[in-house]
Structure formats: C-alpha cells, structure tokens
C-alpha cells in the first residue's frame, strides 16, 4: 500500500515537473507576450500542485489565489490594456542571449547546490501534512516579527503607489 502510494506520488511528480519545465522554457522562447503569460500560468499551477503533493494544502492554495488569480491576471490586464498583438512578434526578443543563459545557469546552479548541500539524502516524513492551523500558529508566534515587517513593507508600498499615481 505504501509502495503503491509512493509510485503514484513519483509519477505525479514527474508528470508535473516535465510539464512545468516545458512551460517554463516556452515562457522565454515564445514570440507572443500573451502566450508567455499563459505558459506562466501552467508553471505556477504546477508549483501549486507540487505543494499539494507535499501535503502543504494552505501554501498550494495560496499559490493559486495570489499568483494565478491576482498576479497573472494583472499581467494579462496590463498587456491587453497597452498592446495585445495577435500572432508572432519579431521585436519580442533580446539580443543578449548568452549573458541571460549564464545568469540562468548560475542562479539555477546555486539554488540546486544549496538545496542539495542542506538536505542531502534527508527526506520529508511520509505523513507530512501541514494543516492550516499549524501554519497560522507558526506565523503568529514564531515568525511574528517577520510577519509584522512584511505588513509594514506592503503598507509602505501601497502608500508609495498612491503617492506616485497622484496627479498633483
């Protein structure tokens, strides 16, 4: 029973991971800016699915609510409000491909190295379900300082946006 559950989890992981990789590549290679945003939806939905697979229901749902429901919608809204070209677009390319590739490789390498270096062969416990109550308790006890700091930062950003947007 445990074995079959493990197989199912692995299959699900690989299906999601391959879809995410493909969509991630398409985000940067597609010649249509709306398509790029829609491929990004697939990547973010995949990330949410991976969180669910790890038993972090709250984080997975937050991923959907914030990233797909708000940020992607804002992206699409902004693109369509300014220009929404159909078909391929020649100008949607960047001349400095090599530095971009280099930066991507370095960031990816550092992330992978640090994760492997920290966790090594350590595995999450099989029954690792994080309930919303636990998340809430840890935010409001252990991480209360960080939480308050983020709230103040967001408030500052909000006020800043209003100040910038005001005409006078």
């Amino acid at each position: 029973m445990i074995f079959s559950a493990m197989v199912a989890q692995n299959v699900a992981f690989w299906v999601i991971a391959v879809a995410m990789l493909y969509a991630g590549l398409r985000v940067v290679t597609t010649r249509n800016v709306v398509h790029a945003a829609l491929y990004l939806v697939v990547v973010l939905a995949g990330a949410a699915a991976l969180f669910l697979l790890l038993g972090s229901e709250f984080v997975g749902i937050t991923q959907v609510l914030i990233y797909i429901g708000a940020i992607i919608v804002l992206f699409l809204f902004g693109i369509m409000l300014t220009r929404a070209p159909m078909g391929k677009e020649k100008s949607l390319d960047h001349p400095r491909k090599l530095p971009a590739l280099l930066a991507a490789v370095i960031v990816g390498g550092v992330t992978i190295y640090s994760v492997l270096d920290y966790f090594g062969d350590e595995q999450l416990p099989r029954e690792s379900r994080t309930t919303t109550r636990e998340v809430a308790d840890s935010i409001f006890s252990e991480y209360i300082i960080a939480f308050e700091a983020v709230s103040v930062l967001l408030l500052a950003a909000l006020i800043g946006a209003i100040v910038v947007a005001r005409k006078e």
Partner: protein
Amino acid sequence: MIAVLSSAPSAVGVLADLSYWQQTVIKAGVVAVVIPTAALILGYVFLLKMMSFVQSRLGPMEAGPHGTLQLLADGLKFLQKEDIFPEKSDRFVFAAAPVMVLVSTFLLYVALPVGPDAVVSDLDAGVFYVLAVSSLSVVGILMAGWASANKYALIGGLRAAGQLIAYELPLVLAVVGVIIQAGTLNLQGIVLAQANGEIFGWGAIGFPYIFTQFAGFLIFLIAIQAELTQPPFDMPVAESEIVGGYQVEYTGFRFLFFFMGEFGTAFVFAGIASVLFLGGWYVPGFDVDSNWLNLLGPIVMLVKIMAVSFLVFWFRFTYPRFREDQLQKLAWKVLIPVALANIVITGILKVAV
C-alpha cells in the same frame, strides 16, 4: 424508508473501501453530472420563468409542460450549430478559454458539503480553496477576450477583469467575519460551529451566522453577483454597447460552456453562501453526525440554495446596469470599508465576549 436509511451508511462505507482512483472517478462523475443539472434548474426556474413573471409574461410554454424542457431544446440547438473560429483568432487559446471558465466552476463544486459525509473532498482550508479557484475564471475570460481578435471582445474582457478583481476583495473580506466566528477555514467545521452554536443559550436551531454577519451576507451576495457578471453588474457583457463582450465570437457548444459556467457558478456560490451564513446542511433536532443528515442535507441545501439564488436573481431582474465608475466606486468606497469594519468589530467581539 428504513431500508434506504440502513443502506446509507453502507454506501459511505463502500465508497471508502474503493481505491483512490476509483473514488476519484466516481467523485468526478458526480460533479460532472451535478453542474449541468444545477445550470438547468437555475436557468429554467429563474432565467426563464421568474424573469418572465417579473416582466408580466408567461415565458416558454411549448417545450414540455410549462416549458420545462425549453433549456434542453436550447442545448440541443447549441450542439447542432456550426463551430466557428474567427479568421484572425488564436485558435488554441480561443478554444481553451471556455474550458478554463468551466474548470473553475468544476473545482468549486469539489469543496461544497451537503451532508456530514456527503462532500467530494473535505478540504482543510475549504473556504480559502473556494475563493482561490473562483478567481481562475478571470484568466479564462481574459483569454476569451484576447483570442477572439475582436475589439468588443477585448473591451469586454478588460472590463470583466477590472470588475472581477475589484469584487474579489469584498468577497474575501466578507467571508473573514464568518471565519473569525467559526474559528476554522474548513467548510464542514463552519457548518458544525453553526449547528453547535446557541443564541443566548437557546440552541434549538443552532446559530446561523446570518444573525451576526448580516453585513457580511449582503456584501457576499453583491460580490457574487458581480463575480457572475450578472445585471446590474453586466458591464463586461453589455449587449447594447459591446454586443456581448468576451462572448461575442463564441457559437454553439463553446457559448454553451460559458452559459453553464455562469449558472453553475451561481448555484455553487449560493451553496457556499448557505454554508457560511445559513447553517449549511444542518437540520435542527438531529445529531450532527447522524446518517439522516446525509439524506436530508442535500434537500435542505437545495432549498437554501434556491432561496439565496432567488435573492440574486431578484436583484438581477430589478436593477438597471451600473456605469463603470459607479461599479468601481461601490466596490472600493462602500463594500470594502464596510467589510473591513465588520472584520474589526467581529474580531473585537470574538475576543471580548
């Protein structure tokens, strides 16, 4: 009746014995059957009959007794229609958009509880999940507006996105009051909290949160009406100015998808409102985990859903369309401040009492 009752627990037991993928197939099948049925019920009772009576006419009378089969006939008509893609449209995105809207509706039904065991998936963060997946339909609507390669469709899509973003906030904030009172995000937990509650020590009917969260209930109703882009919030599909908005290029079954998405979502949002504010599937006088409630719960929920839908459609047939600025003003200057005040007051009372 007794035979049915004794079979009710075993039905739940049988389902639990099945393997995960068998359960999933059955549950997906149930949801896939419920959505069109819900859309048909709401469409017939409210869109065809109630609107007709409000406007002093009879409505459809020919197909079936009192026009009961009218929507089925309409559905058949839609299926026979030619499947047209506009010449310059983006074919894949154009075809995917209505599916995206319907997927959002589909996912909403997963979390709706209609009995102690009668729920497709009892999610730990149920309310939060509902709010998250309901926002997926915006992406579908923006896709439809853009891929149609039509300026009316694009304007409609933009209006829809602006409206849906604006009204998602009051929707979320209106729910927070209930969450504070119940102390849980779980939809079953919210039903149980209301069932076990007492009104000044009188616990005969439990404690439906509409009594303390009436402001939240009103804001929730207004916000779901805006989320459904129904009149008076139908700027995105205003047929007299932008000829149907993002739906303008859709024909046949693709248009049917949008229709089913709208009415299916109306049904499930009415259900969520009944769970949050009206006590959900609980029937006073029963034990909260008695098997009777697995039978009576769905019936009680249907009655409550129809009552809430009645209010929603009553607004729909009564008020003229909002202008874009009035629409945004209502959301940002009235609903959100009231919802925030409601949260603060509920929080203070929760701690103080």
